[in-house]
């Protein structure tokens, strides 16, 4: 059986992992568009 405090820890870790993944995904997308803008290609 999982102790209540361990459940709180896991919940926070899950939330933080989800936020980190979202931010990393957004960063990859941003880098892609920065690269496109820097190369000066007009789409």
């Amino acid at each position: 059986m999982v102790r209540p405090e361990e459940e709180v820890i896991r919940k926070r870790q899950r939330e933080r992992a989800r936020i980190t993944a979202l931010l990393l995904g957004a960063f990859v997308v941003l880098l892609f568009f920065i690269t496109i803008a820097k190369t000066g290609i007009n789409w």
Binding site: E5, V8, R12, Q13, L30, I36, A37, K38
Partner: protein, 303 residues
């Protein structure tokens, strides 16, 4: 296996919302807005994504300043009602996490700024972060009543950085925008510090009302408002903006001076009765927003 007690919240991994709170998001609005106005007032606009990234970097740099400020001032924050509920003094986060977060965010914002726009903008962003953390937070704030006067330079960087991110160079108008915020900061913060001075006194922060007294602070507010108003109107006679900005800056600054004059004439000693100080503080925020918004509108009309 060791277990963690909920009675010691700092032993838990901090909630992600507390990391957001560490960046002082409410303070960030003005930084982002003035940075954006500096960028939009520039003669040449960068591609949208690069402009967006520049503003994002300014916001992240401001967030890093907030995190490192809270990391350093945890004991002081614990003594003030206004700040006691922040993540570190409230015990919801350990100091090391705040330090790592602040340094990481600051480094990331500077590198991204350099890669996306130009390295002069990145250097200015790095200087503004270091100025706020080292010169203002660590050195001036706990030592001198002039902390806000010199430290105000840190908050004056965003429009300059926004302009340089767009153009790659420094010129007269962004330097004047820097001067406007630099000179606006003392009356703005001193108005606030008048009605929360007991908090600053309890925390041992030598803000002007604590060290020099209420009457002297009220005089200084009015005296500093004069060069601020002159700097705000200056871009017009110098030919850097049009009459729309010049007229608006004159009216906005006149109202600022009237409110600062009311503060100088005020004799209230109880914070609850300091209406003139509260009006000036609220107006000072509106003043900066309005001044920069009019600047962008004026430059837009000039194109």
């Amino acid at each position: 296996m060791p277990t963690l007690e909920l009675t010691n919240p700092a032993a838990l991994p901090a909630d992600w919302r507390d990391f957001v709170a560490l960046t002082k998001p409410r303070v960030m609005y003005l930084v982002v807005f003035t940075g954006l106005c500096g960028l939009l007032a520039a003669p040449a606009l960068p591609p949208f994504v690069l402009g967006f990234t520049a503003i994002l970097c300014i916001a992240l740099g401001a967030g890093a300043c907030g995190a490192l400020n809270q990391w350093y001032e945890v004991e002081v924050d614990a003594k003030m009602r206004r700040t006691a509920k922040r993540p570190l003094p409230a015990g919801r986060m350990d100091r090391q996490s705040a330090l790592h977060f602040g340094v990481g965010l600051g480094t990331f914002s500077v590198l991204l700024m350099g890669l996306a726009t130009n390295w002069l903008a990145a250097v200015l962003l790095a200087v503004s972060i270091l100025f706020y953390v080292v010169i203002y937070t660590v050195w001036l704030k706990p030592r001198t009543a002039q902390n806000i006067v010199i430290g105000g330079a840190a908050g004056a960087f965003p429009p300059l950085i926004g302009w340089v991110a767009a153009t790659g160079q420094v010129s007269a108008l962004p330097l004047l925008l820097f001067a406007i915020i630099f000179l606006w900061t003392p009356p703005h913060f001193w108005a606030l510090s008048l009605f929360v001075r007991s908090d600053y006194a309890a925390a041992g922060i030598p803000m002007l009302p604590v060290v020099a007294g209420v009457e002297s602070t009220r005089r200084q507010i009015f005296l500093y408002s004069l060069p601020m108003a002159a700097a705000a109107i200056a871009p017009w006679p110098l030919g850097l903006t049009g009459a729309v900005y010049g007229g608006s800056a004159a009216v906005l600054s006149f109202v600022f001076l009237v409110l600062a004059g009311r503060v100088a004439a005020s004799r209230s000693t109880e914070p609850a009765q300091m209406h003139a100080e509260k009006h000036l503080f609220a107006y000072s925020v509106f003043y900066l927003f309005a001044l920069f918004a009019v600047l962008v509108a004026d430059r837009g009309l000039a194109w």
